[in-house]
């Protein structure tokens, strides 16, 4: 009988599903009261794992005390996140706190890395590893503990929400924050409580998963956040019991997926499931009422401001100075600026999509990856000259990017962000797994340098000029589009898509056009980057870069073309100049993002 292994896969899926459920329940609770997808949740989970590791390693605590310390530590961390990071953003556009949690997660992850070193650590399983035979499979003591904690915390949460006064307050706040406040509910306290509970659950999840795999590292946050979000979306945004079901379902899907296709497909299954749910059942699988359409969650992050009007001579002068820079013999400066300008190609694309059209894309770096791979493969496999391959890569990225994002075009607000995040991950995973085309984890090596008309551009100076010319060209083109009826239509969709559609603006069509134009620029950027580096792999353009690009765009002012270039150059070049260690760099980016959202949402040059 082949039942034994399947039983193991089922047990394994349910155990991992329990962990996902712990994460998803916290995310759902927080979404319920704060209307916010907490992207720092995975970081709290990592912190939980490290608190567990530290207390076992240094204090030699027994399991109950370890868990208690994790619960207290993470609960306090949750309170701090709510109090320091988010409370001040109350009443701002709904995407603002979401972006803030991204900043918080960058900061937390870097702090963990700085304090505990980036190397993986072994987290000992304090229960020993006894396994019991059941049916054809086995179940370990830790499995039972995880299941017990999962069921136990669900039961406790149910009792809390159902029978305590504070629990009622939580549910009232989730229904209607303003009404709850008017009835005398201290919603600040409710928020704090919910963050504490959610974070404690997340932290416990982190320790348990660390024990399960006997391995923790500071990079596990992002994955955990994503899995929690996927599980929550399956259950329906903010639906607490649904989140438990979603977690278990996700765990089982992954486990069976691994059984059938191998472990490198694990995440692909998770994200494919996410996109499927977003497209087919945006209210989640467990919500039956259909009368209320998915909560629009509109409100872009475009602050009401008047953009700083830079005099044309200043912009032209800056371009001239930039063009003359290579004449001073400063290869290191040029190198840095080239990197900054390459980022600017991504930032220009994102400022159009996220700023002008208001679709906060969290997976934009995937466009660079598509462009880089398209041009690289055209050169390596088909022998295309690079000066033909790069524009072709731009067109391929425009087409493929628009096609990929197509299911997300009819979504709004948070859903767009989650969908683009998922699509970005899917692109990276397809590149990793489609070995026949992309050479998988090996990446593309030995890419030829950029060329124009048969002349290789190998010197730092010539590459700089090429990238500068591209940035200026695309920026001018983009400015022209913005001044046409397209700019008007795009911004109208951002401001109020219902009103825009009522006046005949086909929102999907214009969003697709923005993604196509943005895809072209980003694709060219990715292609040039690939040829300049001469090597890329599936991690070259990671999700971190997507977040960084968003920071650049917010720094410059959303939708602001000059701002995007300025933001890209500043955020790339400044850390170089101050010679920050790479570790501190992400910390700085996280802080910049947090401070901007809090104090200057319109960025340096203002939103357009």
């Amino acid at each position: 009988m082949m039942l034994g292994p399947w039983l193991d896969y089922t047990v394994n899926g349910l155990i991992i599903g329990n962990i996902y459920a712990l994460l998803a329940v916290g995310l759902a609770l927080i979404f319920g009261v704060a209307n916010l997808i907490n992207f720092a949740h995975g970081s709290v989970y990592t912190v939980g794992a490290y608190i567990g590791w530290a207390s076992i390693t240094f204090l030699h605590t027994p399991l109950p005390i370890t868990l208690l310390l994790v619960i207290v530590g993470c609960g306090l961390l949750g309170i701090a996140i709510e109090r320091v990071g988010l409370r001040a953003l109350h009443g701002r556009s709904r995407i603002a706190p979401l972006l803030a949690t991204i900043g918080i997660s960058l900061v937390l992850d870097q702090l963990v890395q700085l304090i505990c070193s980036p190397d993986p650590r072994a987290l000992p399983n304090q229960l020993g590893d006894r396994r019991f035979q059941i049916g054809g499979g086995t179940i370990g003591t830790l499995d039972i503990l995880i299941a017990g904690i999962g069921i136990g915390s669900a039961a406790l949460l149910y009792l809390f929400l159902r029978f305590t006064k504070l629990g009622w307050a939580v549910r009232a706040t989730a229904q209607d924050q303003d009404a709850a406040r008017q009835m005398g509910v201290d919603t600040d306290r409710v928020n704090m409580t919910v963050f504490a509970i959610a974070s404690a659950l997340g932290g416990v999840g982190g320790v348990l998963v660390g024990m399960y795999y006997n391995d923790i590292d500071p990079n596990m946050s992002f994955d955990a956040t994503l899995k929690g979000v996927v599980a929550m979306m399956i259950g329906g945004l903010g639906n607490v019991p649904g989140a438990i079901g979603g977690g278990l379902l996700l765990g089982l899907t992954e486990s069976y997926g691994i059984a059938l296709f191998g472990s490198s497909y694990r995440n692909l299954f998770a994200f494919a499931l996410l996109i499927l749910i977003l497209v087919a059942a945006p209210n989640g699988l467990f919500q039956r009422r259909r009368e209320t359409p998915p909560e629009p969650l509109t409100g872009t992050f475009v602050a009401r401001s008047r953009p700083v009007r830079l005099p044309p001579w200043l912009v032209a002068g800056a371009v001239v100075v930039a063009a003359l820079l290579p004449l001073t013999n400063q290869p290191y400066l040029l190198q840095t600026l080239t990197n900054g300008l390459l980022s600017a190609l991504l930032a220009l694309s994102l400022t159009l999509v996220a700023g002008t059209v208001g679709q906060i894309s969290l997976g934009h770096a995937a466009l660079l990856a598509i462009g880089g791979y398209a041009s690289g493969l055209l050169a390596l496999d088909l022998g295309w000259p690079v000066d033909l391959g790069v524009p072709a890569a731009g067109l391929i990225t425009a087409a493929l990017g628009t096609l990929l994002v197509y299911p997300a075009l009819r979504m709004r607000g948070h859903y767009v962000s989650i969908a683009t995040l998922g699509i970005g991950q899917i692109v990276a995973l397809v590149i990793l797994n489609w070995t026949g085309l992309t050479r998988g984890a090996m990446g593309l090596t030995g890419l030829p340098p950029p060329e124009i008309g048969g002349f290789d551009l190998t010197s730092v100076r010539s590459v700089y000029w090429l990238v500068l010319a591209l940035v200026v060209g695309i920026a001018l083109l983009q400015a022209r589009l913005l001044s046409s009826h397209l700019g008007r239509a795009w911004r109208a969709i951002r401001e109020d898509d219902v009103a825009a559609r009522s006046y005949g603006v086909d929102a999907n069509r214009y969003k697709a056009m923005a993604f196509a134009f943005g895809g072209f620029g980003a694709g060219v950027g990715g292609a040039i980057t690939a040829h300049v580096y001469s090597y890329i792999d599936y991690q070259t353009f990671s999700a971190t870069l997507s977040i960084l690009a968003l920071t650049m765009v917010i720094l410059g002012g959303l939708g602001n073309i000059v701002g995007a270039i300025l933001g890209a150059v500043v955020l790339t070049a400044l850390p170089e100049m101050f010679r920050f260690a790479a570790d501190y760099r992400m910390l700085a980016y996280g802080l910049v993002l947090l401070l901007l959202i809090r104090y200057r949402p319109q960025g340096l040059l203002g939103t357009v």
Partner: protein, 273 residues
């Protein structure tokens, strides 16, 4: 021009619109009145494509447009304003009005299947003379529309709409709707939140539109204005038609008086508590 038959919409257990029939002929001015919650705005949403009816049909110029997308209805010449005002806050007053003229763009929006969007991008990047001329003409037209509001909007045409007063935002809504050159103009409480002078001014403007032969469907609470302007009035309560006919007849219809008084006395009872 507009034929609504048996239109119904339920939200959960509540029936917001229960089988409404309504006809509007070319050049006619029809008003819809009724107490708050009578289903007037829901009816507007059903007719303008923002919500799909559970039953019934809508025909516009003989074409069945039941449940059609709002883009299509706009293209057919139906423009509406919103009860609570939905101007594009970060767009200038002029740009708001120009978005209203979106369906009139011809040179900039080639009607080619599949490749239309790409051509449109290319045209916006190249900006050939025909596109530029069209844009200039639209701008001139938009300024003419702004001028209809005296000096309320014209001096502020380049200001972002979020800085406008409430009354001015209502005016921008109407200017935006007029820019579509609508065959049917639907206005949802255009004078809400306006003082008496402003209301009188708005009434003047709407009377002017009517004199020009504009077909208008109006939701309005200010009965005096309804009585003066309307050719025909539809009174609703609880999603149903309770009276329909010439303004004077509807005003003295016992069902209408009952609906208003009934609600009014309830309102007083609440206020007394």
């Amino acid at each position: 021009m507009l034929q609504v038959r048996g239109l119904a919409r339920r939200f959960g257990g509540v029936t917001a619109v229960a089988g409404i029939d309504l006809d509007v002929a070319e050049g006619e001015f029809v008003s819809i009145i009724g107490p708050n919650g009578a289903g007037k705005s829901t009816l507007f949403n059903l007719m303008s494509g923002l919500d799909r009816p559970d039953a019934g049909s809508v025909r516009f110029d003989g074409v069945d447009v039941t449940g059609a997308r709002p883009e299509r209805l706009a293209a057919l010449g139906l423009a509406r304003t919103f009860q609570h005002g939905r101007v594009f806050g970060n767009l200038s007053v002029l740009d708001n009005v120009l978005v209203g003229a979106h369906t009139r763009l011809r040179a900039a929006r080639p009607a080619v299947p599949v490749l239309g969007a790409l051509l449109e991008l290319a045209l916006a990047a190249i900006l050939p003379g025909s596109v530029r001329a069209e844009e200039r003409a639209l701008r001139a037209d938009a300024e003419k529309i702004l001028a209809m509001f005296g000096d309320r909007l014209l001096p502020r045409r380049d200001q972002p709409a979020f800085g406008l007063s409430y009354a001015n935002r209502r005016r921008v809504e109407i200017a935006r709707a007029l820019a579509l050159r609508p065959r049917l103009l639907m206005m949802d409480e255009p004078t809400a939140g306006m003082n008496e002078t402003e209301t009188a001014e708005m009434q003047e403007l709407i009377a002017g539109l009517k004199a020009r032969g504009q077909t208008i469907l109006l939701i309005e609470h200010k009965l005096e204005m309804v009585m003066r302007l309307s050719d025909r009035v539809l009174a609703m309560d609880d999603g149903r038609r309770i009276a329909e006919g010439p303004p004077d007849a509807v005003r003295h219809d016992p069902a209408v008086i009952e609906a208003y008084l009934g609600h009014a006395s309830m309102g007083q009872a609440e206020a007394a508590e």
